[in-house]
C-alpha cells in the first residue's frame, strides 16, 4: 500500500495565501462600502451577491475553457501558458478595481458610481476565487486538502482583517493589496525580478514600519498641508513646479486613510523599495554577481540619510524611481546591459520606444531633476563608439526625446501659461526656475566668501559632506564640514574601485557615472549642504561601487570583496541602528509628557496638538519657525502667524524670504503686528512658540528642540467647571 501523494509546499502556501487574501479583500471592500455608501442592508447583500455570482461565472468560465482545450486534437494541444490561470489579467484587474473603488469612494462618497465600482471589484474577486478553486483542484491529490488550506487561510485572513480594521484600518487595505500583488507576481514568470522584488519589498516594509522619529522637512510638510487643506491652494500649487506629480501621487495613499504626513512618507517608502529593486537589478547586470546586488540593496536600505529623507516624505525617492526606471530600461533597450527582465526584450522595439517615451515624460513631470536624463541621452548619442553604433544611438535617442517632448511639452507649457500665469518665454523659464531665481538655494562657488580655487575646494568639501551625511547620517557634535584629507582619500578609493569597471565593464557603467556626476555638478551650485541634493548621485555611486567590488574577480581575491562588503555593511548597520535609537530616545521627553496611546514618529505633531488643546480657542499663536506652523496646519484648526513674515508684502516675502507660491499660500500672515498689538491691548491672549530665549517673558519649557511657549499677553483664567451640588 502506498501513501497518498501530498501537495507540494508551494501549492499549500498558494492555497493558504489565496484564502487569506480573499478574506482580507472581502473585508476591505465591505469596509469601503460601509464608509462610502452607508450602512444599509442592501449594500451588504449586494456585495455578497456579486461576490457569489462572480464565483459562479469564474468557475463556469474555467469549465468552458477546459472543455474547449480538451476538444483540440492531441497533436495540436493548446499552448501552455507560463502564467497560472487567473493571475495574468484577472487578479491585476481585481486589484486595480479595488484601488479605483477606494479612490472613487473617497472622492465621491455616497455616489452610485463609487458603490458600483466596489461591487464590480467584489464580483471580480469572486470570479478569481471561483477560478482558483476550479483550476487548482485539478493539480491537488485530494480536493479536501485544497479546500482545507484555502479555508484555513480565509479564517486567518478574516480574523486578521477585522483586527486591523478596528486597530488601524489603512493597514488592512495595504495588507490586502500587498498580498494580492504577491499572489499576482507569484503566478507569473519573474526570473531575476523575483529576488529584486523581495529585497525591494523588504526595504519598503522596513521604511514603513521604522520611520525616522523627529522633525519633518518642508517638502513632506507641504505635501501634507496641501492634502489636508486642498481648499487653501490652486492647481498651481497642487502641481508644484519643481515636482508637479508628487502631490497627486501621494493623494491615493491619503485616500487610503493614511494621515497626510504619513502618506508622504509612505509614498517615499514604497518608491525607496522600488529603487532598491532597480539597484539590485542594475548591480547584477553590471557585475554578474548576486552578492553585489544584495550589497547594493542592503546599503541603499541602511543608508542613514536616505532612510531619514525618505521616511520624512522628501520626494527624492519618487524622482529616483521614475528616473532610474527610465534610464535602466533605456540602457537595456540599447542592449548596453541585460537586466534579465521577463517580457521586456521580447517586446517589439516600437512598444519599448513608446513605453520609454512615456516613462521619460513621467519622470520629468514627477521631478524636474530628471530633465538631466535628456543630457545623458544626448551624451549617449554623441559619445557612442564606433560610428556604426552611434547612428543607432542617435536614432533611438531622437525618437525617445522627441516622443517625451511631444507628451510632456504641452503639459509643462500649460502648467506655466495656465496655472503659472506666464505670458512670455522668459516668464515660462522663470516659472520653472523659481527656486534658482529666488536665491535661496542657488549659490555659485566663485561668489562665496572664499573666492577662487579655495572657494571651489570649499564647495567640493560641502558637497562631499552632504554625500557622507546621505550615507552615514549626521551625528550630534560631528564637524559640520569634512576634512580635506578624508574626502581626498575616499574619492581616491572610489576612483580605484570604479576605474576597472568603467574601463572593462559594461558601457552602461559610464553612462550611470555620467548621470551621477551631472547631478553632483548641480549640487555644487544648488543647495550644496543638503544631502537631498546628492541623493540621486549617491544611489548611482552605490550601484557602481558594489558592482566594482564584485566585478569578475579572480577566485583568490573573491574573499577580499566579500570581506570588505561584510565589514562595510556591519559598520553601516551599526551606525544606522545607533542613530535610529538615538532619534527615538530624543522623543522620550515629549512622549512622557503626552503619554499617547500610540507613540507617533513625529513628536512635534503630538506637542502641537497638546499646545492647541491647552490654549484658549481665541488665542493668537505666533511661531518663529515657519515649519512649526505647518504642524498646526496639518493637525489642528489653528493657523499660527510666522513672526518674521509679519508686515511683509508678498513681494518682500518672495524676494527677502524666498517664499515660493506654495509657501505664500500657506504662511502669509492674516494679521500684521499692529493688529496683534491691538489684540494684546484688548486682552486677547497671544502666545509665541520659539526656541529663542526670552528671559523676561512668562514661559513654559517644552521637551523638544529647546522650544518655549511664551505668553505675550496674559490669558484670562480658565473658567472652572460649573459644579452643581
Amino acid at each position: 500500500m502506498t501513501a497518498a501523494p501530498r501537495p507540494s509546499l508551494s501549492q499549500r502556501a498558494e492555497a493558504l495565501l489565496t484564502g487569506m487574501w480573499l478574506a482580507l479583500w472581502q473585508v476591505a471592500l465591505a469596509a469601503t462600502l460601509l464608509r462610502t455608501s452607508g450602512a444599509t442592508v442592501q449594500s451588504f447583500f449586494a456585495l455578497t451577491a456579486t461576490w457569489l455570482s462572480g464565483g459562479v461565472l469564474g468557475a463556469r468560465w474555467l469549465l468552458a475553457r477546459t472543455a474547449k482545450d480538451a476538444a483540440l486534437p492531441e497533436k495540436d494541444p493548446a499552448p501552455r501558458s507560463e502564467y497560472k490561470v487567473g493571475t495574468r489579467l484577472l487578479l491585476p484587474a481585481v486589484l486595480l478595481l479595488g484601488i479605483g473603488a477606494k479612490g472613487l469612494g473617497a472622492a465621491a462618497p455616497f455616489s452610485p458610481v463609487a458603490a458600483g465600482v466596489i461591487l464590480a471589484a467584489g464580483a471580480a474577486a469572486g470570479a478569481y476565487a471561483g477560478i482558483f478553486i476550479a483550476d487548482r483542484s485539478r493539480g491537488w491529490p485530494d480536493v479536501a486538502r485544497l479546500l482545507l488550506a484555502e479555508n484555513n487561510g480565509f479564517v486567518l485572513g478574516y480574523a486578521g482583517a477585522f483586527a486591523l480594521l478596528l486597530w488601524w484600518a489603512p493597514w488592512l487595505d495595504a495588507l490586502a493589496l500587498g498580498v494580492g500583488i504577491g499572489l499576482a507576481l507569484s503566478g507569473r514568470p519573474l526570473g531575476a525580478l523575483r529576488p529584486a522584488l523581495g529585497l525591494g519589498a523588504a526595504a519598503a516594509l522596513y521604511y514603513l514600519l521604522r520611520p525616522f522619529v523627529g522633525d519633518r522637512g518642508w517638502d513632506g510638510l507641504m505635501t501634507a498641508t496641501v492634502l489636508t487643506h486642498p481648499d487653501w491652494v490652486t492647481t498651481r500649487e497642487l502641481l508644484f513646479f519643481a515636482h508637479p506629480l508628487v502631490i497627486p501621487l501621494t493623494a491615493p495613499l491619503f485616500w487610503l486613510g493614511l494621515p497626510p504626513l504619513y502618506a508622504a512618507a509612505a509614498r517615499e517608502a514604497l518608491c525607496a523599495g522600488g529603487v532598491v529593486a532597480l539597484g539590485y537589478l542594475a548591480t547584477v547586470a553590471l557585475s554578474h554577481s548576486r552578492r553585489a546586488g544584495i550589497l547594493t540593496a542592503a546599503i541603499l536600505t541602511l543608508a542613514v540619510g536616505r532612510w531619514h529623507l525618505a521616511t520624512c516624505g522628501e520626494e527624492k525617492e519618487a524622482a529616483m524611481l521614475f528616473g532610474a526606471g527610465f534610464l535602466f530600461l533605456y540602457l537595456d533597450h540599447r542592449e548596453l546591459w541585460d537586466l534579465q527582465l521577463p517580457a521586456w526584450r521580447t517586446r517589439s522595439p516600437v512598444f519599448r520606444r513608446t513605453f520609454l517615451s512615456v516613462l521619460l515624460a513621467l519622470s520629468v513631470a514627477v521631478h524636474l531633476v530628471n530633465a538631466a536624463l535628456g543630457v545623458v541621452i544626448a551624451a549617449d548619442m554623441v559619445l557612442t563608439r564606433p560610428a556604426t553604433y552611434r547612428r543607432a544611438a542617435l536614432r533611438e535617442g531622437l525618437l525617445l526625446l522627441g516622443g517625451a517632448a511631444i507628451l510632456a511639452g504641452p503639459f509643462f507649457l500649460w502648467l506655466a501659461v495656465g496655472p503659472g500665469g506666464a505670458r512670455t518665454a522668459k516668464e515660462v523659464l522663470g516659472y520653472f526656475f523659481e527656486y534658482h531665481l529666488s536665491g535661496e538655494f542657488l549659490s555659485l562657488p566663485w561668489q562665496s566668501e572664499t573666492a577662487g580655487p579655495a572657494g571651489l575646494g570649499e564647495r567640493a568639501l560641502v558637497v562631499y559632506t552632504s554625500a557622507r551625511e546621505w550615507l552615514l547620517g549626521s551625528a550630534p557634535g560631528a564637524a559640520s564640514i569634512a576634512s580635506a584629507g578624508e574626502s581626498i582619500l575616499v574619492v581616491a578609493l572610489a576612483a580605484a574601485l570604479l576605474t576597472p569597471l568603467l574601463r572593462r565593464g559594461s558601457p552602461a557603467a559610464i553612462r550611470l557615472l555620467g548621470w551621477a556626476l551631472l547631478v553632483l555638478g548641480h549640487a555644487c551650485i544648488f543647495d550644496s549642504g543638503n544631502p537631498e541634493s546628492v541623493a540621486p548621485s549617491m544611489t548611482l555611486l552605490v550601484i557602481l561601487g558594489s558592482a566594482g567590488l564584485f566585478r569578475p574577480l579572480r577566485s583568490r581575491w573573491r574573499w577580499l570583496g566579500t570581506f570588505i562588503a561584510a565589514a562595510a555593511l556591519v559598520g553601516l548597520a551599526a551606525r544606522h541602528f545607533s542613530q535610529e535609537r538615538a532619534a527615538r530616545q530624543r522623543a522620550q521627553g515629549v512622549r512622557s509628557l503626552i503619554e499617547p496611546a500610540v507613540p507617533s514618529s513625529v513628536p512635534l505633531a503630538d506637542l502641537c496638538q497638546l499646545i492647541d488643546a491647552e490654549l484658549p480657542r481665541e488665542a493668537l499663536l505666533l511661531v518663529s519657525d515657519r515649519l512649526h506652523a505647518s504642524y498646526f496646519h496639518i493637525y489642528t484648526r489653528r493657523r499660527p502667524l510666522v513672526t518674521d513674515y509679519l508686515d511683509a508684502s508678498p513681494e518682500v516675502l518672495r524676494q527677502r524670504f524666498a517664499l515660493t507660491s506654495l509657501s505664500l499660500r500657506v504662511y502669509r500672515p492674516a494679521l500684521d503686528s499692529a493688529a496683534i498689538a491691538a489684540a494684546i491691548q484688548a486682552g486677547r491672549p497671544v502666545y509665541l512658540l520659539s526656541s529663542e530665549p526670552r528671559p523676561d517673558v512668562p514661559q513654559r519649557e517644552l521637551p523638544w528642540d529647546d522650544l518655549h511657549l511664551y505668553a505675550l499677553s496674559p490669558a484670562p483664567p480658565a473658567a472652572p467647571s460649573t459644579a452643581l451640588p
Binding site: G38, F45, R60, S137, D142, F162, L165, R617
Partner: protein, 474 residues
Amino acid sequence: MLIQYVAARELSSTLFSTELVVIGATVVTLLGPSVGYALSGRVRSIGRLAGWGAAALLIQLALPVAARALTGALCDATGTSLTAALLLGGGLIVLCGFYATLLPLRAEKVALPRLYICELLGALLALLLIRFCPSWQLTLWAYYALAAAAAHLLLRQAALTVLVAGLALAAAVFYPRLDARAARLYYARCRGHAAPTVLAAAYSPYQRIDVVQDAPADNTAPPQRTLYLDGVAHFQSGELTLFPQLLAQLPGRLMPTRGPALVAGSGSFSAAGHLQRLGYSVTVVELDEKVAQLGFAFFTDAHKLRPGQVQVVTDDIRRFLSHTKERYQLIVLDVPAPYHLQTALLHTASFYRLVAAHLLPDGVAALSLCDDLDGPIGSSIAAAAAQSFSELQVLASEALGLSILYASAQGALPFSAAATAAALAECDSLGGQVYGDTNTRSIIRTAQPLSEYDLSGVLALSRQSLPLPRSRSE
C-alpha cells in the same frame, strides 16, 4: 449560507451584541468547514457519518431557540455566559463542519468545479431568500426545510426523511411559543427583569428587536417597558428617560429660537417627542424601519406623539446628510454606542463634520459620549467632536452616569455653561457638572479621536462586554 446567517444572528443577538461577538460568531461558522474538510477523509464509514449527521441535525433544529435559552439558563452576574458561548460555538462547529464534509466527499466522484458552482448557486439562492423573505418566520421555515431536504438527499430512505421532516415541522410550528419562553428566560436571568413579558419580538434585516414589559410593581405606576436592539437595552421607561431629556429637551429648551430639528435614531421617539412639544419641526432619520414602527407603537407614553407630528425618514444618517441641503437649528444624535463598526462611524470626526455642515449659523448638535468625559470611549468621542465643532460644552449627569456633549459649528454656543448647569439642576436630582470649551479640550487633550481609520474604541467597548472574568480594577 442560511445556517451561517441564522447562527450569526442568534449568537450576536444573545451574547451582548458587539463587533467582537459578531466576528467571533462568524469565525466559528467559518472554522466549522475547516474541521469538516480536515475530517472528511477519516469519517467515510456510514456509522460515523450518520452519528455526526444526527448531531448536526439536532443542533440545526434547536439553534434558533437554544442560543437564547442556553444563555438564559447559564448566564452569570455579567448578564452573559462564557459556558453558553463555548457550547454554542462547539455546536456550530459540529453543524457547519458536517455540511462542509459533503463537498469533498461528493467531489471524489464528480469534478469539483461543477459541485462548487452548485454550492455557490445554493448560497446565492439562500441570499435571495434572506433578502426578500417578508418575515423571519418564513426564513426559518426554509431553514428547517433545509434539514429535511439534506436528510433526504444524503440518506435516500423514506422513513428517515419523514422522521426528520416531522421533527423539522414540529420545530417550525412550535418556534413562536418556544422562542417567547426562551426570551422570557433570557430577559429575566440575563437582563434582570422581573417576570417579564415580551410584548413584541421582530427580526429586521439589521437586528432582533424586543419590547419587554416588566410585571407592574403596583397599581399606580405603569409597568416599565424596555426596547432591546439585539439584546442591548436602547430605551427604558423610568431611569433612562433622563437620557432623552438631557440629549434633546435640555438644549432644545435653551435655544433662543425654534426651527427645524433633526433626530438621528428613532428609538422610543422620546427625543423627537420632547422637541416637537417645544415647537421644533422635527425630522427623524432611522436606518431600521422596524425599530421606528415598534418604537412608535409601544412607547406612546414616552413620546406622546400622534402619527404625522414628526417626519420619519428611513435611511442611513450619513447618507441622508450627504444628500440633503437642509440645515437645522438642532441636531440630536440619539445613536447607539460604538459597539459595532456601523455605529462607530457615527462617532467619528468626519461624521461630526458632516453634522456641523448641516447646522444653521446659531445651531447646536447634541450627542452622547456613551461614557464619562475622561473615560476611554468618552474622551475619544469628545476628541473627534473637538476636531469638528467650534465650541464644546459637556454635561456630566450623576443620575444618568453618562456625559452629553453640546457643540456649535461656528462661533459660540447660544447658551452658557451656567445656563446649562441651571437647567441640569432642574431635571437631575443628583446633580452633575458642566464643563466649558476650554476645560473640555484640556481634559481630552491627549485622547485619540475616533476616526474612520482608528476604531480602537469599538474594540475597547466590545472587550468590556465580553463574558470574561474581570480584574478587580475593572
